[in-house]
Symmetry: C2
Subunit: 442 residues, 2 copies
């Protein structure tokens, strides 16, 4: 009997959760983003529910610019723990769940990224993943000797070369290179050591990596950019993709398009898991879920609300909050995001306040509000209709909403035969159903 | 009643131990350098014995060049876990011991170093330390877009600026900057956020750091360079210094010289702990200790022996192993190290084999062989005669020799009132007796 195709689940555990007013909720410890045990608890909840992985987004700066009206000091997103250290500590205190950390290709060196994730893969016994991003803010550039962020072409050209180098370094040693023969004194077989000698436009990296091949062959590679250059990297290398699609039709188009690119790289479409983000508000009834959602929405400070759409739409503090959304200014930086938000406001006839409330609810990812059954329904629909292989769950409040999701929605998914009741393997690669990586990984 | 001045102890836990033939010993797991539990065990042994800290040296390359005659594949030092990830995992599984990781100022960016160690300090509850090094090999340069290592002046100029930037970033937020007032919606007090805006010769870093001030005010700073430029950095910033002195007289001179530099930076000499490395071979009797030492010496492969002195003295494989040591070639890179080794060979009338055996025994650090009482005697002598504030213990075989040291020598030090029987504080800074760091740390 063949088993039903299985849904993959990641839990995004950044900060205090994905609702921007979460820190103001009465149940929350507002200092949690610096507390290891806050994150550990979320990871343990996810592991008990048999999630594939926990996931950490990242930026390498405080994004102080996004400040239309003194709002920055009202945001809880200023300080946090660094993802690789945090997930390594979590790996040391868990035994099955995968740990996927974001690492920027614009402000790192490939040798460090290859080495740290290899080390995390060894320490965790094969549960590490690297989420490749190119970063986006000038604040990040200014922490790394630059005035401005790299332009789009440079950024993605650099990213593609960066991933090539990292993947190459992970092939430095064959699986059986280390013979460690005490009698003869031979520690490794020189024929099984491979020096990369990479010389490219952006990097010159000799190698070999000072780490043996890892328990997963190489760590899981995740990718989060939805543009063409990002999709090429994903099609070539990624085991999973994090997406932000809000509606099912564009999500299906993205899914079909990306999957169709894999054969060009000699890969089967199933080797890449596409996992849209959703931010679930779950209740025992639909009404209970709506009440939870509205309770958090009511805690959004208008200054924070305007901040959320500032980068896309500019400073709108001079416009009436309960009036219509004006068209994006011509000089806006994130053109596609600006247009997407403006279109959303037009389509649903939103005021500025309604727009920022919707965005602020979940940082422009998909929000689902309902009973466990309703949430399982929409997840099942996306999963069976060619829009998703799984989901990155972005709980509004951590760890509370993660706990509720695991208590209410996960059992419903399991009843439907869509999600595991026990881990299948010991590595993230096995659980995720990603492709094995015999040497040399491509 | 005043308590006797207390000795500080660090345990260096790199690889399989500090004897190069350790991996060939019958008791050893030769794959341990990739096994988190191997390192965790050593850390737990040190914590049970109330050590101040565990310490990890590092290089960011496989030093493949040091190979006079195909010896590299006979060394166990090719692959290892990365220090920051490894010590973070250890921090997550221990509760009192400090964790000090090496980070190179030549091949890192200050923002990453400031952030990762701040994160480790938060995760560990105030037990993090950064050991500042400038690296030394061309292999490292070649993994980071360069052909050659930076020259001495550039290296130390960059290091000094690097530490300035890191220390500055650690002052980004005052202790009470985060008010997190749910009622008013104010998360932090803008007057207590400090943007660094560093513009220097080697770095341009805006800040602020995306991490609150850490439990120790800032992580412990350790320094390991014995030259003049390194001593200036130590005198200005370091809470501890790792030294390699082999004889007591030069050690006393170094101690007096470095301590005398502190007042120039407004610091008391006690604020800096000078901790020479020693590699102890301890037995229940002196003979038992000697036997252990000789057992390991006999396992040294001649190719590995010659490799140990290759960088300092060049390829000596053409000379008879049991003949005298020839003078260093004129084109040698590490002039001072070459001269030191050659002088040692002259002074003690060593053959090439005897020289490499001495060096290989402990990577040119001080080796002490004897009973617990004899080892405690020499430690007490250095400690009371102005040569040391404590020691970095570099066990020949890990975890075995660490276990023996803690079982035999530590109780003897405690009987003499020289070493704690319980941790005094909860942070590494408190246990080490380093200076508190009220905002802004200098």
């Amino acid at each position: 009997m063949t088993r039903k195709r299985q849904m993959r689940l990641g839990l995004s555990i950044r900060g205090l959760g994905y609702h921007l007013a979460a820190w103001r909720h009465e149940d929350m410890d507002p200092g949690g983003a610096l507390d290891f045990h806050h994150f550990l608890k979320s990871a343990q909840i996810a592991e008990a529910a048999k999630f594939d992985l926990v996931f950490l987004a990242d930026s390498v700066a405080v994004r102080q610019r996004d400040e239309p009206a003194g709002s920055l000091c009202r945001s809880s997103q200023n300080v946090e723990l660094e993802p690789i250290t945090l997930l390594t500590a979590i790996a040391a205190r868990t035994s099955h769940i995968g740990v996927v950390a974001t690492g920027s290709t614009s402000y790192n060196e490939p040798y460090h990224i290859a080495r740290k994730f290899a080390s995390l893969d060894h320490i965790s016994g094969g549960r590490a993943g690297w989420n490749v991003v190119t970063s986006w803010s000038d604040e990040e550039a200014r922490n790394f000797n630059r005035d401005q962020h790299f332009d789009y072409d440079t950024r993605y050209e650099r990213a593609a070369e960066f991933v090539d180098v990292v993947a190459g370094l992970w092939n430095s040693w064959e699986d059986d290179a280390f013979v460690r023969d005490k009698a003869s004194g031979v520690f490794y077989d020189p024929a099984k050591r491979h020096v990369l000698n990479h010389v490219g436009k952006h990097f010159k990296v000799q190698g070999p990596l000072s780490s043996a091949r890892t328990p997963q062959g190489r760590p899981i590679i995740s990718q989060a950019g939805a543009n063409d250059a990002g999709k090429e990297i994903a099609a070539r290398y990624a085991d999973m993709v994090y997406t932000g699609n809000v509606d099912i039709e564009p999500a299906k188009a993205f899914y079909a398009s990306l999957k169709s690119m894999l054969p060009r790289y000699g890969r089967h479409p199933d080797e890449l898991k596409i996992m849209p983000a959703i931010s679930p508000y779950v209740g025992r009834t639909e009404q209970e879920a709506r009440d939870k959602f509205e309770e958090l929405q009511a805690l959004i400070d208008p200054a924070i609300g305007l901040q959320q759409i500032y980068r896309q739409l500019g400073d709108m503090s001079a416009y009436p909050l309960d009036g219509p959304v004006p068209p994006p200014p011509a000089d806006v930086e994130m053109v596609s995001d600006a247009q997407r938000l403006y279109n959303m406001a037009q389509k649903d006839n939103l005021t500025i306040r309604q727009l920022y409330e919707r965005v602020a609810a979940a940082s422009s990812m998909r929000v689902v509000v309902g009973s466990a059954e309703q949430i399982a329904d929409t997840m099942e629909e996306w999963f069976t209709q060619g829009a998703a292989d799984g989901f990155n769950i972005c709980p509004p409040m951590l760890p509370h909403s993660a706990e509720e999701f695991c208590e209410l929605v996960v059992p419903e998914l399991q009843r439907r035969g869509l999600f595991r009741t026990e881990y299948e393997g010991t590595t993230l690669r096995e659980n995720l159903g990603a492709a094995p990586q015999p040497f040399p990984a491509p």
